[in-house]
């Protein structure tokens, strides 16, 4: 079993009103050093081992996990720790 960590973020240039609101909140809490916040998603997949794991995860991202019109993604694969 492998554990796949998928990170989905809004593309540069795509307005992120949530991030903007979070940045302002941080500023109002006194963290004035924060000049930008961008909100993304993190997904964790448990995947059975098989051929072409990387290629298949990339497909999953392109087809469903990220919307290529507005989002970029990256992912890491690690050995799952047995529970």
């Amino acid at each position: 079993m492998k554990k796949v960590h998928v990170y989905v973020t809004l593309k540069r240039g795509v307005l992120d009103p949530q991030g903007k609101a979070i940045q302002k909140s941080l500023n109002s809490l006194g963290y004035e050093e924060v000049v930008e916040a961008r909100v993304g998603k993190y997904l964790e997949l448990q995947v059975e081992e098989g051929p072409n794991l990387m290629g298949r995860v990339k497909e999953m991202c392109d087809k469903l996990l990220a919307n290529p019109v507005i989002e970029d993604y990256s992912f890491e694969v690690e050995e799952a720790i047995h529970s």
Partner: protein, 223 residues
């Protein structure tokens, strides 16, 4: 004309859509559950608003991967009409039937009120009963109706006259005030405002009548 209103888990404007075409306009219509459906015997497909799959992952993303959307794509490829409203529009962009994406409203709020729209293109099968430049009033009800596409796509939309409706006073941050677009072939319309909730004067506006009448007249003229 026979309409299918596709119902996903979490659709909530399906009955409004059904009421609009069946009760107000007297056409045939059926509510079609997304599973085990057969869309081949319908003249038009209506994708209603709501929160299919609870808006999980992204609005419309999960519904877009369902089997029924393969049939909607097939239907669209035959040149038959597809109308997606609100969540239906989100499903159409997520499934690739329409370009762009619907993002969180610029002000982060869910908005529910009447908006004035401008008819930008009356040469579609959905808008032939309007005049270009006509101002109409439809309700909006969405949290993620902020239409986004890159500049290249926007130029293409403009060149092909695919922008059908724009907001007079852009409520959500959509690029170029876009409220509704058609595909290149002109038979798939997606829009955030709700024409099916603007069918009776008593309920605030009947400006949606012309949209469905345009479509029905067109389809009946062909048959």
């Amino acid at each position: 004309m026979k309409f299918a209103v596709v119902v996903f888990p979490g659709s909530n404007c399906d009955r409004d859509m059904y009421h609009a075409v069946k009760d107000v306009l007297g056409e045939e219509a059926e509510l079609v559950w997304y599973e085990n459906s057969n869309l081949s015997n319908y003249d038009g497909i209506l994708l209603p608003g709501g929160f299919s799959y609870g808006d999980y992952l992204r609005s419309g993303a999960v519904a877009a991967t369902s089997n029924v959307m393969e049939q909607v794509k097939e239907h669209a490829s035959l040149g038959k009409p597809v109308l997606g409203v609100c969540n239906g529009f989100q499903v159409l962009t997520e499934s690739g039937l329409l370009p762009g994406a619907l993002m969180r409203n610029k002000n982060l709020s869910f908005m529910c009120h009447q908006e004035e729209l401008v008819v930008k293109n009356n040469e579609t099968i959905f808008t032939s009963s309007y005049s270009t430049g006509e101002i109409i009033r439809f309700p909006i009800a969405h949290g993620e109706g902020n239409y986004y596409c890159d500049e290249e796509t926007l130029a293409e939309l403009k060149n092909n006259n695919q922008i059908v409706f724009t907001y007079k006073n852009n409520p959500n941050g959509s690029v170029s005030d876009i409220a509704g677009i058609v595909n290149k072939q002109g038979n798939v319309l997606g829009m955030m405002p709700h024409p099916e909730r603007a069918m009776e004067k008593l309920l605030g506006s009947d400006d949606g009548l012309k949209l469905f009448q345009s479509l029905i007249n067109k389809v009946k003229a062909v048959v």
